[in-house]
């Protein structure tokens, strides 16, 4: 039975620079020996780990190894690309397209704001605090909607950039 390829990609909570890939492929194809992960940013630039000289990351030992964690992100990003399942001749036999946004840096800051509010009830009276809190929430949701509804990597990255600005200038906005 040929492979039915599938995978999930999630940022690692507490370590948002890392993306955790899980291979959920079913079926059997003894010719497949490894995978390659190709990711690019909105401008088409390859996104790989520091030190990687290729435009992809190797994910070896198929099917025994079904998980890999890559340290890829210095900030939240929207990424497109694909995962290839390759045979011994490095020919891609199966391909899974990827279009995702990774907003965990922003969400982790969002959770810090909740904790700050929980520990400082006076913040409840600050309209400015909540105005920018809502702006952060909207940016996170816009980044998600741009991918899931519109498949628009540029809009998603723009929303993540707005969240990044709020966080980078937190002393002014919060």
């Amino acid at each position: 039975m040929p492979l039915s390829v599938n995978a999930t990609e999630t940022q690692v909570k507490g370590e948002p620079s890392k993306i955790y890939f899980t291979d959920l492929t079913t079926g059997t194809d003894v010719t497949i020996v490894k995978r390659r992960i190709y990711l690019t940013d909105k401008d088409g630039n390859p996104v790989v780990e520091s030190g990687t000289t290729t435009t992809y990351e190797e994910w070896n030992d198929f099917p025994a190894t079904d998980e890999i964690t890559l340290d890829l992100l210095t900030r939240d990003m929207a990424l497109s690309g694909r995962i290839d399942w390759l045979n011994n001749s490095n020919v891609a036999v199966y391909t899974l397209p990827i279009l995702l946004q990774f907003p965990l840096y922003a969400k982790e800051y969002y959770w810090k704001l909740i904790k700050a509010q929980r520990l400082n009830d006076g913040l409840r009276k600050s309209g400015n605090f909540y105005h920018n809190f809502i702006a952060l929430e909207c940016s996170i949701k816009q980044a998600e909607d741009a991918i899931t509804v519109l498949e628009d990597i540029n809009s998603s990255q723009a929303a993540l950039d707005r969240a990044h600005e709020l966080i980078n200038n937190s002393s002014y906005f919060f």
Partner: protein, 177 residues
Amino acid sequence: MTVQQIINIANASSIYASNELSSGKIHSGSVNENDPYIIHLVRQGVEWLYDIDPTFEDLVPDSNYLLSLCKHSNKAEANITGGGSPTPVTSPTAPEHYDFVVGATATATAPIKDGDTSVILTRFRGYKLFVVRGGIPQSEINDGITACYSWNKETTEFLIINAPASTGEPWLIYPSL
């Protein structure tokens, strides 16, 4: 009370707080003008956190804090444990809420059974209700199609409108002053 139940209550509470504001009750001091979106923002954060890591240590205090915020709009919180609220609130005199799954027969802890369209809930006499059915906050507005409910706090008759209760449905019925 579970985190998911608190999220459900917060969903209803932010709507309720908005309604209170639009009806002018802000001036009576019952609702702060920031309450609807404060509840919304914290609920969203708790929901994200619950989805990603339901065991994370901040989840319990954040959830309790969310529940305490609901106090300002619906006084729906009770029996807060685990810390996390600036002013943890308990309602020792409020009747116990119902949290159950509909079955073939009604019981003391699950008063609604399969096929019911009307039940008497004497426990909540004099209270308003918050009702969550199948994870969805319920309205008393009857459009003739959508499932909703009617509650008479004097006679304690609770009507299930447009869609009788059915086996397997989770219900949460919470009293509110």
